[in-house]
């Protein structure tokens, strides 16, 4: 089917030519309620250059947007900053159609692109390398494991654009191009959700990169990532947020999440939450029947306390809990205190199994397991409230200690 689409001009020579995936809701386990974009960029210098491509199936959208600026066959260079399929899936087709003089990627980029998509003629660039397009020069900065081994940043010096691949991105489909054109609460939530789900395990690398960027002396006017809106007025905001999220200091927030069979574990969750609230902690309760793993980990990002509960079924926790614990453990949250809780009928393994998982996740269990047989009594719920209160007080002490250091 024919496409009639337009590029968006970003600077004198740089255009956004990506694709908008309004319908994307499930991104390898991450719920993308607001859809996403696959950003690709065109630099109209003497050597016309395309930065990244889009997911397979969106090639026509990319080519239509490029064609609104220039005949795609005039593209001389393609730079692949990130080898993941949502940015490289149609690279072989684009190479076939455009026949660029050169395709550039990092060493791991070349390897990962060829491993996934078949052999391609790719020239390897390293940190410190540059290529001249005419008026502009491109500088390359490898940033392995942010968030794939191949990840690389490219800086276009005269246009002052840092192409950051997935770093500083978010899943947010829209017709607006800059983050400052959206509701700031949406931007904060979606960029935090992206960080928590994609970059959290690489926090030490993020901090290293944030320390390196100023030393490189780049004069950045625009950060253009591979997903969602771009950063111009708020570059320092997103860099500061990335530092904050990477350090993950304990905050005055708590998350009580659980799944329940007949309401007892839920009832326990509510008492814990009231205790936390009355200790002055901003507390949220989430039932895993309604809140998925990617939203839970986003809330864990901020929570100083996590209280985690499940009834016992088949000698273990409920399957929703297995899902969330496995996913969250892999993302390596830190600086959390917590407690395991739940009701059971006979064997009761769920609570100690949750506790074991939380310990593996390096959550410090400052309360022993809160366990109830079948249905909690008023006294047992009072115990839950008091535990919540103590968890809250311990968190306040931890925050003070963290700040004192």
């Amino acid at each position: 089917m024919e496409k009639y689409l337009k590029a968006v001009k970003l600077t004198d020579k740089v255009y956004w030519v990506g694709a908008v995936d309004w319908n994307m809701r499930y991104f390898h386990g991450y719920t993308t309620e607001r859809g996403t974009t696959y950003n690709a960029y065109l630099v109209m210098d003497e050597k016309i250059t395309l930065i990244d491509t889009v997911k397979k199936g969106f090639k026509d959208e990319l080519m239509a947007r490029i064609s609104s600026v220039v005949d795609p066959s005039k593209i001389e260079y393609i730079i692949s900053n990130h080898a993941e399929m949502d940015h490289s899936g149609c690279l072989p087709e684009v190479i076939e159609e455009v026949k660029p003089a050169k395709v550039y990627a990092s060493k791991n980029g070349k390897k990962n692109l060829c491993d996934q998509l078949g052999e391609m003629d790719i020239e390897v660039v390293r940190t410190g390398d540059s290529i001249t397009l005419g008026n502009n020069k491109f500088f390359f900065i490898e940033c392995p494991m942010l968030h794939w081994p191949d990840s690389m940043l490219s800086f276009l010096d005269q246009e002052k654009v840092l192409f950051s691949q997935d770093a500083f991105g978010m899943h947010l489909a829209g017709t607006k191009i800059f983050a400052d054109q959206y509701d700031p609460n949406v931007i904060e939530w979606e960029s935090k959700k992206y960080y928590a789900n994609i970059l959290m395990p690489y926090a030490p690398r993020v901090i290293k990169l944030l320390d390196e960027i100023p030393k490189l002396g780049l004069d950045i006017d625009l950060i253009a990532s591979d997903h969602g809106p771009l950063w111009r007025k708020d570059i320092n905001y997103i860099l500061d947020m990335y530092r904050e999220w990477s350090i993950m200091p304990p905050r005055k927030c708590a998350l009580v999440f659980y799944d329940t069979m007949w309401g007892s574990t839920e009832n326990m969750a509510y008492s814990i939450a009231d205790g936390l609230r009355d200790a002055g902690i901003d507390t949220e309760v989430a039932c895993l029947q309604n809140v998925d793993r990617s939203n839970i980990i986003t809330k864990i990002q901020d929570a100083g306390v996590i209280a985690v509960g499940s009834s016992t079924i088949n000698n273990n926790y409920l399957p929703t809990m297995a899902d969330v614990l496995s996913y969250s453990k892999g993302l390596k949250p830190k600086n959390k205190i917590g407690m395991a809780f739940g009701s059971y009928g006979w064997s009761g393994e769920s609570i100690k199994n949750i506790a074991a998982e939380l310990e593996e996740m390096k959550v410090e269990l400052v309360e022993d397991n809160y366990v109830v047989k079948y249905v909690p009594t008023k006294e047992q719920l009072e115990d839950g409230y008091n535990r919540g209160m103590r968890l809250g007080k311990t968190l306040l002490e931890r925050i003070a200690a963290f700040e004192a250091n």
Partner: protein, 53 residues
Amino acid sequence: MKKYVCDLCGYVYDPAIGDPENGIEPGTSFEDLPDDWVCPECGAGKEDFSPVD
């Protein structure tokens, strides 16, 4: 000789295998790897590795 795991990507350096593609002979202990050796999977430095228990 101890194996070491890359904290970033999970690659395991096994001294018995070495890293022949990057000029590291089998039988080279992790400690004897040159300082500028990097994880062949993700490019992490030696400081990003932990001993495997």
